[in-house]
């Protein structure tokens, strides 16, 4: 009987992590950022296949990496949230519990499946009006979960973009926040960013019901014209 080759657990985890990281870094970046009246999600994504999505009244999702994999996660999240909101109450659905569920799921997949998910996702929740706290959770391919403050970046050259934002971030009005995000993306790509190639959505604070809204490229252009 042929014995399988021995691979140490450290080596195996390291290989898997490297594999997943490589897949995520190949893609383009997504920025999540708080502005004065809510939360902004901006993806460098010229495709009609969306990376940002509404999940629940005040919760949104963004995924970087392999589309088929984060699309599955997105659907699972919407199903989880809608079921919970229907069986209990709409106000019982929150980002923290959803982020935890994702973390559990990705953690299990990372250690048990042959191939880890090549994804990094964001779950963000805008605070209930008027003084509620915004929440930004970043969940990595291995299930590790980070509670981010103010802003974060996933996918592509996330570290470079994060470092660029770090010195410049403040709680801006929407137009200025958009400018900063576009500038940040340009810095990462080392070239001008075309507005038509952006996927932008906001969660507006103080909206009754569903707070998620996509900004069309026409609307986006308006923000860049006035300044």
């Amino acid at each position: 009987m042929a014995l399988p080759y021995y691979v140490s657990p450290e080596q195996m985890m390291q290989d898997r992590a490297e594999y997943a990281k490589k897949g995520i870094a190949r893609g383009r970046s997504i920025i999540a950022l708080e502005y004065d009246k809510g939360l902004l999600l901006l993806a460098d994504n010229p495709s009609s296949l969306k990376k940002i999505s509404e999940v629940y009244d005040r919760i949104a999702f963004a995924g970087a990496g392999k589309y088929s994999e984060f699309e599955n996660l997105r659907k699972a999240g919407i199903r989880h949230a809608d079921l919970k909101g229907y069986l209990y109450s709409r106000e019982d659905v929150n980002a923290r519990s959803l982020a935890n569920a994702y973390s559990q799921m990705l953690g299990t997949l990372f250690s048990q499946e042959t191939k880890p998910f090549e994804v990094e996702i964001l779950i963000v929740e805008v605070g209930a009006a008027p003084a509620g706290q915004n929440e930004i959770y970043r969940i990595s391919f291995d299930g590790s979960i980070f509670d981010e403050k103010g802003f974060t970046v996933i996918g592509g050259k996330a570290d470079t973009l994060f470092a660029f934002l770090k010195g410049r971030y403040q709680v801006f009005p929407l137009a200025e926040a958009l400018h900063l995000c576009v500038k940040t993306l340009g810095e990462g790509n080392r070239q001008e960013v075309a507005l038509e190639g952006l996927e932008v959505a906001i969660l507006e604070r103080g909206q009754p019901g569903r707070a998620f809204r996509r900004l069309s490229s026409a609307e986006l252009a308006l923000h860049f014209k006035t300044n």
Binding site: K50, S53, E54, V55, K75, I78, R79, D82, L83, G85, Y86, L87, R210
Partner: protein
Amino acid sequence: MFTPGDPGSSFYQLLKARHPERFAPVADLPAGGAMDLSARVPHGTTVLALRFRDGAVIAGDRRATEGYTIAERDIQKVHATDHWSAIAFAGAAGPCMEFARLFRVELEHYEKLEGVELSMDGKANKMAQMIRGNLPLAMQGLVVVPIFVGYDVVSGYGRVFKFDIAGGQYEEQEFCAVGSGGKDAKGTLKKLFKKDLAQEEAVHVAIEALYDAADSDIATGGPDLVRGIYPIVKVITRDGVRDVAESTVKRGVEHIIQKETR
């Protein structure tokens, strides 16, 4: 997605797969009225809808009855289900409210998963399937009979659908009314309905039809001037679903009372 049993983009299918017990008929309760539940749970009575030039009006009275007792005086039977559609129901109040809530989540769930809204026909077909699914409970007396109206953004006009308990779906070109006072309301609608009514006129026709239904049917609540409870009326146009203000409904009711007083 392509595997059998996958709920796809339907919340109703998802709920059925995860919580089948919610859809099961009540055990040990013989079907066919041996122990009719309809006298034991509150029932909503008269709702109606009609088309007008720019869309559709949907309205309902406020009473729920339990046999010969008035169970609720201010129940809401008309609900917006999304930006472009609304539902009103007659039948067992609890299951009806649950149904309205479920349908609202169904539409939102689909929109979130697919990234686009269901078409107007898609919404009506889905509702028919869900009512068909309720047939076992309907046979035990927990009947849900809705009216569904919406603004078809593609075609650019209002649409009115009614359903039977077996999931039959009927699109109406003019108006419809269901519930215990539905027949009386229909009489008034038949007399007053005209093609291409203005919104104000259509709202008034709806209020008058409900008034007449309450006049002839004991289970339909008329305007309650003492407590200040008036019918709920909503209009659906290309601007979406909008409530008709209570003050407007009140004025309409007062106008009718003035006309009828001898």
